[in-house]
Amino acid sequence: MSRGAAMGRRAQILALCGVLLCLCSSVGGCGRKGHGRALVLAGSTSVQPLAELIAEHYEVEHHGRPVNVQGGGSTAGVKAATDGAADIGMSSRKPKDEEKGLDAIAVAVDAVALIVNPANPITDLGREQVAGIYLGEITRWSDLGVEGLIGGRTDAITVVTREEGSGTRSAFEEGVMGKADISSRALVQDSTGTVRAIVASDPNAVGYISLGMVTNEVKAIAYNGVLPSEATVRTGAYALSRPFLFLTRGAPSPAAQDFIDYALGSEGQGLVAQAGCIPVGGEGE
């Protein structure tokens, strides 16, 4: 390679580097708001599977508009909607007082199911008992009337909870704990899947997940005598229910509105039922 060519090549690499650095600092905003770019949803991991299902079908119907769904938790969804990082924030709890200022549209209703290991003979727990477990006051399955060991080496209850920003946790705390704090000895997991996996593999575990995510690896028990199902949630007999919300800051953009309309339409609500959640009861709004 001649001298000039070698120098030129080096210079080009350096120039490229400089261009790249300039690109990132100045053009950063360009990729975001534009034409034909993807719709971004972010937030609750409970809503995520439903949103992804709707997105998958939506994309087939409306060619050319990709939809990207992120997790992060309900509070992350609120934040993303507020910051503008996402077009639609997903939340599985009602917005807190300091979070007003976002438009919330309910696309589904979901129940928070209490789950135990299938080997656990318990079928029903009252509010006092659940609160006692999660406060760390009731620590043994024998205190709840279980005879002998369920399968582990002791009968100590393994308490599993979601992380603080989770909408599922908020719904649980509102319905069960009131103002009291969940014990800091509880195992904290950051997704429905891991909560379910722990309860499925540890005979002494108890946890709570979205009803739509219950599989036969775990057993959903009755709360205050009522088993969670679409019927009991609709009548209000099952107390632990919460809305799945799509949040936007102000009026949704046309693209977002289109997606929301689809979700609320008959196809979207059919998908809601398919995902194991409860349709909002209106056929399009």
Partner: protein
């Protein structure tokens, strides 16, 4: 003349590139400190470093359980990694025949390349159930994290320690053996003490790696924000604290996470400084 001016320009450009590493480090430090220090000052660093209640949405910012867990888990990982790793390092540099060494060394590097999430996954699959079924507790525990971390830092420790041992001048060993020492007496009596600067650097760098590990730890440690009182207790490290809550933290909560980052950052810098000084001092001999 023109070539000379071109040279100066090139030198300046390269200096800029070289400073970029320091610049990035400074930028990161500034960012973390800017976000994290104000809240530490506001609530007093004492309440952060020594407080025991972590409830960031309710004003509790005590990091002591996390600091304690990070320290315990790291020390535990060292208890596993140092004997095993040092033995492997000695093995590779002194005992192994050339062909065996050429096979073992890349194998250990391969261990270094495995993503941490895979380690965490294997931890959940194998280590956690073993602990739960044979030792007790929920399985997700300090012990599980210790074992996984110990394995993860092995490659770092082995390769740096091996270099340190290789660097010991041959006359040291030959002289000892000429005086009648066995091979192992020469190793333990002469070579290891001679290499101790480098070995210490290896241990410290491995410690830094252990303190900073996030994904694998989150998956196996249970994330309960308590001070662990036995290896079978769940716990939460500084890094898992950040990763667990980062996606959704807002306002003071977010600043509190940055404060956690500050503590981590300072700790790692200290460790690295000690290691670097050690290596430099070792080199000078």
């Amino acid at each position: 003349m023109r070539a000379r001016r071109g040279e100066v320009a090139i030198e300046r450009a390269l200096l800029l590139l070289a400073l970029s590493a320091v610049l990035m480090l400074g930028l990161i430090a500034v960012f973390i400190f800017l976000q994290g220090l104000p809240i530490m000052v506001k609530h007093g660093p004492g309440s952060f470093l020594f407080g025991t209640r972590w409830a960031p949405t309710k004003g509790g910012f005590g990091l002591l359980p996390m600091i304690a867990s990070s320290v315990i888990v790291t020390l535990g990982a060292m208890v596993i990694a140092v004997p095993l790793g040092l033995s492997c390092a000695i093995f590779l540099s002194e005992i192994a025949p050339r062909r065996v060494a050429n096979f073992v060394r890349p194998a250990i590097q391969l261990l270094a390349g495995i993503p941490s999430v895979v380690f965490g996954f294997i931890g959940i699959l194998i280590v956690v159930p073993l602990i739960r079924n044979y030792l007790g507790g929920p399985g997700l525990s300090v012990l599980a994290a210790t074992i996984i971390l110990g394995i993860m830092v092995l490659p770092t420790l082995i390769s740096i320690a091996e270099d340190a041992i290789e660097a010991v001048p041959r006359p040291y060993k030959e002289g000892a053996m000429a005086l009648g020492c066995t091979h192992s007496q020469a190793i333990f009596g002469v070579m290891l003490p001679a290499a101790r600067g480098g070995i210490l650097a290896a241990v410290i760098l491995a410690m830094g790696r252990a303190v900073g590990e996030t994904m694998a730890v989150i998956m196996v440690i249970g994330n309960a924000a308590i001070v662990p009182q036995s290896p079978l207790d769940p716990a939460r490290t500084l890094t898992s604290n950040i990763a667990l809550e980062m996606g959704y933290a807002a306002g003071e909560h977010q600043q509190a996470l940055f404060a956690t980052g500050v503590v981590l950052f300072v700790f790692i810098m200290l460790l690295n400084s000690i290691a670097t000084l050690r290596v430099v001092r070792g080199d000078r001999r």
